[in-house]
């Protein structure tokens, strides 16, 4: 009985401490120190008012004038997002990869053939972006060299020269495309 009373009192104390004070302190500090990042790294339109997305989340692109992100098993839904969770010997996986190969061509790198883990992978590999440069250039009637130059500008190297893989953020690249004159 004594343990039960102590348990309930301690649960109240711990809920206040770790469930209210801690997240509120983090919220206050994060908002003050990193206002952009803590609010979801939103990307705004040219006017700077209307959010067009988050720099960290893929969004659906189907028009040929844009670069396309990696396949998303949840079709880029965010509430919730999803992966295929198909195993390595799945017939469904084999079919999905064949479909993606048809969509992106025989030369498509692996990241364009396979669905991402988050369903919202904001990046593609540099090869996957360069592969799409021809389509984008043709649709927009812009010389391909200019598009490829833009892609190369958007290749992010491994972080601090060490962590992760080189990659291209599709939304940021597409926004820069729209601003191209």
């Amino acid at each position: 009985m004594k343990h039960l009373v102590q348990s309930l009192r301690m649960l109240v104390v711990f809920t206040l401490l770790t469930g209210m004070i801690y997240p509120l302190v983090v919220t206050g500090l994060a908002r003050a120190l990193f206002p952009t990042q803590s609010a979801g790294s939103l990307v705004f339109d040219a006017g700077g008012n209307q959010p067009v997305g988050s720099a960290l989340l893929a969004q659906k692109f189907t028009q040929p004038k844009y670069f396309w992100p990696r396949p998303s098993a949840g079709d880029f839904a965010t509430l919730p997002s999803g992966a295929s969770n198909k195993g390595p010997t799945s017939v469904d996986l084999v079919k999905a990869i064949a479909d993606n190969r048809e969509k992106f061509g025989a030369a498509a790198p692996v990241d364009l053939l396979t669905a991402s883990g988050s369903g919202l992978d904001p990046h593609v590999s540099p090869a996957a972006a360069l592969l799409q440069a021809a389509r984008v250039a043709d649709t927009r009637k812009i010389p391909r060299e200019r598009i490829e130059a833009l892609v190369k500008k958007f290749i992010e190297p491994p972080q601090l020269g060490l962590f992760g893989e080189p990659r291209v953020n599709v939304l940021l690249l597409n926004r820069a495309l729209d601003e191209m004159r």
């Binding site: 396979t114 883990g117 060490l162 962590f163």
Partner: protein
């Protein structure tokens, strides 16, 4: 797909772990011995305040029965409160997305899951849990379940170290110190680092964006950074979002990925050092640490290699299905190994889509009992069960009474240790077998053929090991899985904690005899080797048959080009 940077990252990871371990471990030894430490001037008043508010007498020591009673009642009461909160969240504040109450089976599963440090999730947080539930319900259990693990480990260490006493410390004091001096400060620092890299931390509503193609995209926000920090540090693993650390909002950059991996191992590894420090012979800690590190490196090597192999069925030179470009194969393989070594269960890629052998490693890591650094506290006490078995077996081989740290290991201890080692295996195999016999349950599977067996097995292994990761294709939000997995998680947690505390109580009462020339040494490479052998033999004998029917046969069928 491999390059020099991968080797450098691995070296940096090991260096970081080796630097953190004695620093944090030494700090924890001071904290839990009640000595003065760096944070006592800053937070000592808060510690005393918590005792006053909680009605706790910190100087009062507890017997093992008392300690266990406090631990169990605290956990069960917390579980019931969380259950109530989940089933009433629609009527509580801070629910900007107007999410409904959870139905009982899912609420029960989730409450047990978070109470037992498992964080198995049969739901996706972004469309299920309100902001209040996430921070004042789930995240609280991230702290208390981790602190409970540390407390149980401390009681065992005191039982081994102290002589001729019934006193194992005070549960409330251990719980408070673990939270206030270890979990909270580290979480605060890590949460801010995550926020700097792009993990959101808001209390407002989601934001609707208009995409470049004119569609509406809801940006799901909330108090994410504060939760992800403790999710990693407390080896909880319960994501804010359904896709966990694969979601760019939980793990936005390769740097956060590296830090999230390191923070999983930080406390479990430091606790092993702390154990050595508390015994007065640090080699006792490093000997166990070496066995853990060897198992970690072996598992990582196999998983990484397996993920770099081609998939002839799908016609891929290497697979990125279920993985994220920013992490690459290395960052994915390291995360998957570490999260299943420690009973964290956060994932930065979908283990369901790994190659057969790449998926076998996480399974085996968990099957070995979450003792490869393991869960916060749980890894240390779990491994100490194997240490007692090893001492016992070595004693039988040389024909002497087995002793550990100068104390005799007798029949009672070995009986309890065997319960702790075998209980998870029993519920894993019974749970999986029952599921396979129940056609209704098999409708939850997302894959056919041997992979379907692996998917089922993984669920029960993860639950019993209190890991919480999944072969996530399985639809776990059914009555069958919600109820059976809740039972398995409960047994996986407390069928180990009860024996651990019983052993702690029994060992504390014993006399210690001085070491003699005939004492079997429990430090050094020989003992590390013996310990590894015992861990692997127990794990392999128990699980090899079912592994051969799941991932191993799938591997050979994949090489033959078979699909299901």
């Amino acid at each position: 797909m491999t390059n020099a940077r991968d080797g450098l990252q691995l070296a940096l990871f090991l260096a970081g772990l080796l630097a953190l371990t004695p620093w944090l471990g030494g700090f924890m030894a001071r904290v839990f011995n009640g000595e003065r430490h760096a944070l006592s001037p800053l937070l000592g008043w808060a510690e005393r305040g918590i005792y006053r508010l909680g009605g706790v007498e910190p100087a009062r020591e507890m017997s093992w029965q008392n300690y266990l009673g406090a631990l169990l009642i605290f956990n069960v009461a917390g579980c019931l409160l969380l259950l109530a909160q989940l089933m009433t969240q629609a009527w509580l504040p801070l629910n900007p997305a107007h999410l409904p109450n959870l139905p009982f089976p899912l609420a029960l599963n989730t409450a047990v899951s978070f109470m037992t440090n498992t964080n198995w999730q049969a739901y996706a947080g972004e469309n299920t849990m309100s902001s209040l539930t996430q921070m004042a319900g789930l995240a609280v259990h991230n702290f208390t379940s981790a602190a409970t693990g540390i407390a149980a480990a401390l009681a065992l260490v005191r039982g081994l170290v102290r002589k001729q006493t019934n006193n194992l410390g005070n549960f409330w004091v251990d719980l408070t110190r673990a939270t206030l001096y270890v979990l909270l400060p580290l979480s605060l620092l890590f949460a801010l680092a995550l926020a700097q890299q792009g993990v959101p931390q808001t209390l407002g509503a989601n934001v609707d964006a208009t995409t470049l193609e004119g569609a509406t995209q809801t940006i799901p926000l909330g108090p994410v950074a504060s939760q992800i920090a403790i999710k990693q540090l407390g080896t909880n693993g319960g994501g804010f979002y359904g896709q966990n650390s694969a979601h760019p909002f939980e793990n936005p950059t390769p740097l956060t990925n590296f830090l999230e991996i390191l923070t999983i191992f930080a406390i479990p590894s430091a606790l092993v050092f702390m154990f050595g420090a508390m015994t007065g012979d640090r080699r006792q800690g490093w000997t166990i640490w070496a066995a853990m590190c060897a198992l970690f490196l072996a598992g990582f090597a196999v998983l990484w290699w397996a993920e770099l192999q081609p998939n002839p069925v799908a016609g891929l030179p290497v697979s990125l299905e279920g993985k994220e470009v920013r992490f690459g194969q290395f960052g994915t393989a390291l995360f998957a190994t570490v999260t299943t070594d420690a009973s964290c269960g956060a994932v930065n890629a979908m283990h369901d889509s790994f190659s057969p052998l790449g998926g076998l490693v996480p399974l085996l890591n968990m099957m070995l009992g979450e003792i490869i650094f393991g869960g916060v506290g749980a890894g240390l006490y779990g491994m100490l069960m194997f240490v007692l078995l090893t001492v016992f077996i070595a004693g039988l081989m040389v024909g002497r009474t087995p002793e550990y740290l100068g104390k005799k290991i007798e029949a009672a201890e070995i009986r309890w240790a065997v319960v702790a080692v075998l209980a998870p295996a029993v519920v894993i195999l019974l749970g999986s077998a029952a599921t396979l016999l129940y056609p209704e349950a098999l409708k939850s599977l997302n894959n056919a053929g041997p992979h379907g067996l692996s998917e089922t097995l993984y669920s029960y292994v993860s639950a019993a090991a209190n890991n919480g990761s999944a072969f996530a294709g399985i639809n776990a939000n059914t009555d069958w899985f919600n109820y059976t997995l809740a039972v398995v998680m409960f047994i996986g947690r407390f069928a180990i904690i009860v024996p651990v505390l019983a052993i702690a109580g029994g060992m504390a009462r014993k006399k210690a005899s001085p070491q003699s020339a005939g004492t079997f040494p429990t430090t050094g490479a020989t003992f590390t080797g013996l310990l590894l052998a015992v861990v692997l033999i127990v794990g392999a004998l128990t699980f090899f048959p079912v592994l051969s029917l799941g991932p191993i046969i799938e591997h050979f069928l994949m090489l033959q080009g078979r699909a299901f």
